[in-house]
Structure formats: C-alpha cells, structure tokens
Amino acid sequence: MIKYERSHGLTEKPTHYCPGCTHGILHKLVAEVLDELGVLDITVGVASVGCSVFSYEYFNCDMQQAAHGRACAVATGIKRSLPDNIVFTYQGDGDLASIGIAETIHAANRGENFTVIYANNTTYGMTGGQMAPTTLLGQKTTTSQDGRNKPSHGEPIKMAEILSQVTGAAYVERVMLTDVSNIRKAKKAIKKAFTYQMEGKGFSLVEVLSTCPVNWKMTPRNAMERVKEEMVPIFPLGVFKDVMTDD
C-alpha cells in the first residue's frame, strides 16, 4: 500500500528552490489539500514575485502571475469574476507585507473569499537577502549590514496579528514547517482555510514561518532550528482569527 507519493496537485516540473527551502514543503501541502478537496480543476492560483515567482509552473491548476505585491488585487479580480472557482495567492513576506500590504489588508477588509498562503522567512530571498518587513531586530541582511535596529528600521511586522483585527478576515493562523508534527498541523490549517473558502466564509490566510538557508547562511537543518528558537518568540504560532469560534 502506498503511504506517501508525489501529489497530483504538483506538475512534473522539478523546482528551482534551494536545497532544504521550505517553499518545497509548502507547495506540497497546498497541492495535496487542493487534490484531497477535489478542487484542482476549478482552482486558479496567483503567483507573486519572489523566489516563488515560478509557482505557476509547479501547481497543477490554472495560474496567473501577478505584479509584485498585487496578488491580492489580482485574486480579487478573479474571484469576483468567477465566484464558484477556488482562488488562492502564494506570497512571501516582501510581496505581502511590504509593497502589497495595502492590497492584503483591503482584500481582508472586503472579506474577499479567497485564501492567502503567506511564506514568511524574514528575508527578500530572490534578490539576494535584503531586509524585509519581517526581518528580526539584530538580524544582518545585505541592507541592514549591522543588524536591523529599531530607530532606523522599526520592528518586524506581524501580519497575522494585524489581520486578526480586520473584520472581513474569517480565518487567520500562523504555523511552521520545522518537523513532521508541525507540517501536519500546517496542512490542517491550510485545509481549514480552503474549506472556509468553499463554505463562503470570507478571507482566509495561513502565515507559514519559513526558512531561507542560503541567505541565512545556514544548513537546512540549522535553518529549521532558527525558526523554532528565534522566529517563534516574535511570531507566535496559533489561530488569530476564526469566525466560527470567535464571538
């Protein structure tokens, strides 16, 4: 009996992601969830700009490639036009929390009925490791070479917390992919997010604490440790909004 094999939600194309990059794991989870929910043939995904710019080559469904930061606006255009389709965006922290923060908050505020998969790895990976809105205090990047400091740069932005304040957001959870138990929890969160979309409940977002082994100059194993030890204290895991359980 086959216990685990490559998901039908992925195309055959090998990814360009670095060894040990959590994008690979996250792509699998989204692909598996869409396949298990039986919605691959009515799904339209929106690829953003970052390392995951080529996600339109990896997800086995219709895809649109959006301008940097604008995926939530593009997804709004698609979902409003095709309300019976399943729509998701896949964005990094630069795309979603820097240039795209207005589009993200307003899509949530309007309660747009699509799902956002938000990979937060505290770095602009594709362009070589610059400071991101979620870079931690003290973290050295190519544009904060002495480490992020509060007077010049402010503190890291916490999107799950911010969106929990937006009434149109139906479901917001933060997860991580550091070990198999957390990967399973992350998949549950993603499945819940898409299920809420199918039930027309409103905007759903799963913030996934991710690694960037190359720009962090760490091995993939050590990068996973950094998520647990350094990122979780700043970006705590958990459910930040759930319309089915909140008052």
Binding site: T11, L40, D41, I42, T43, V44, V46, V53, Y56, N60, C61, D62, M63, Q64, Q65, A66, A67, R70, A73, V74, A75, T76, G77, I78, R80, S81, L82, N85, A102, E103, H106, R110
Partner: protein, 355 residues
Amino acid sequence: MSKVLMKGNEAIARAAVKAGLDCFFGYPITPQNEVPEYLSKLLPDAGKVFVQAESEVAAINMVYGAAGAGKRVMTSSSSVGIALKQEGISYIAGAELPCVIGSVMRGGPGLGSIQPSQGDYYQATRGGGNGDYHVIVLAPESVQETVDLMKEAFDIADTYRNPVMVLADGLIGQMMESVDLDKPVKKRNLEPKTWATTGMKNHEGRNITNSLFLDSNDLEQHNLKLQKKYNEVIKHETKFEMINMEKAEYVIVAYGTTARICRSSIEMLADNGIHVGMIRPISLWPYPKKAFDLIPKDVKGIMVVEMSLGQMLDDVLISNKGRHKVAFYGRAGGIVPEPEEIVEAIMTFDERVVD
C-alpha cells in the same frame, strides 16, 4: 431608441454596460468620478461586478485578474491615476489580455489641476509602462463618439488581446449632449476565450496568465509576436477624419475637444476668405500617418493645435516627413482655447513655425 441628453462620464459608463461590461474596478479622481458612481449602481443591479479599489494600482491589478479570467473589464481614471496604472497596463499588454481603460485628461504635471487638458498624449501613446508594447488609443470629440468608441473598444480589445484606451478630456467628461446609446457599431467576429483561467475543468490543459519569459530567446519571440499583432492593428484600426480639405491653404491637426473648437475656427476663417482644412486623428495609436500623404503639395503649412505644449506635435513632424512647414499653437494649465485664438494663430502662422 430615441436620443437622450447625457453627460460624457455617464455616457462612458452606460456605453460600457451596453457593450456587455462584466467588471469595473476603479478609484475616485476628478474629473471622471461619475464613471465609477454610475457603474456602482448599474453593475450590481445587473448582477455584475463593481469594486471601488483601494488605489488605482490595486484597480488595474484587479482588471488584470478579471481579464485573465475571460471577462469584459474596464477601469477609468485621470492623468495622475493613469500614471499609477502604468505597471499594470504593461503587464496586461505583456500577458496579452483585453481590457478597456477610460482616461479623462486633466492639467499636469504632478497634481496639476482638475481642468481639461490634452497633456497625457505622450502618456497614452508612448506609454509609461516598461517594454515594447502599445496601448490602442481612441480619442472622441463628442459624447456620441465617446459612446461609439467605448463600445468598439471592447471588441477591439478582445480581437487583439490588448489594452484599449478611450482618451477624453475633462470637458468631454463633464459636458452634456444628446446621445443615441443604441447606435450600432461595426460587427466583429470574436474568438471564444479558450485561453482564460476559468479552471482546468473548463478547457484543455492548464491556462497560465503570464508576462515573465526569463529566457532571452523566448522573450524576443514573444515580443516579435506582439509586434506582428501591432502591425495588424495599424493595418485595420487606424481611424481619422479629414474636414474641409477642398482648396485648403492650411491644414489644422487636432483631436478631441480641440478639434471641435477648430471646426468653429475653420468656419470663421472661411468667412474671411481663408480656406483651412483639418485632419482629425481618431486613433492616436495607431497614428494616422497616411492621412498626411493626402495633403496636397501646395498647402502652405500644417498647424498643430493641442491643449498642451506640444505632444502630438511629434507625431505630426514624423508623419509630415519634412514635406510642409509645421506650426504649433497650444494652451496649458487646463485652459481651453477660444476659436478666435486659433484664427489668430493661423493668421500668424509663420511666427509659430517649429524647427
């Protein structure tokens, strides 16, 4: 249907609905606010989509998404707002998507004024977005023509899978004229949108809306494909009108509201025994270069009149190919010239010749 008295901006909205508009995404900006205002009522009442976006940037990206999904989509804005949309317009052209963009010009640069102008000719025809692409630009001179061109714009966009801009100025947007909303426009055979991202259930294979081609050879081939398309547009969609060319001593070149004003100037000049004709470009891209081949050799000169300090002037100089003297008269700041000013300009033609 009988004619009704209608404001230009309302006509833009109603003509789009007549043309089967599915989705409108826009943002408030003077002097086109009536467009989103009317559509905010007309579209939901018809079970269609209206979203007032959080910015002009968000709006053009919503257009991209809905256009990729195969819908008839539109946005409208003015000058500074159109400036914000340039990246999105480049993406729409690169991804070969159809859409209509209403642009109601106001004074610039920067925040400028809310008065009419023609200062966005460069923005419309030379494009502020990146890359080798063109927006098809249509310039009406009356509210009726605005209705006709709006309806045609959707069909042209679908035929060529490219953005089409209907370029008016604040005067056309605000003025009221009688309009027949049901006047028929050219019938076109439109291909079904089998390329749209409607879900794999609804078409063969996977559909991808994309303008990224990292391999240089792929990108060059894509660009050559776009150019081939633009050559077809030039062949089939160039529009212009020639007025009063018989025995013309001078030829005015003007579009939009300025052309309307020049019609009065031409009558006033005729009363004084001076025969002046006019070339009125209706498509600004593709520019009607061949109209200039029709100017008789003995015409004393070409006078370009714009509500700007000389933008279409460049296209006239190119089209003229050095055959005639070219002069220019323009007003800026949102000032609309009086017909008498243009009469005076013709009378002082030689003082206004450009090098």
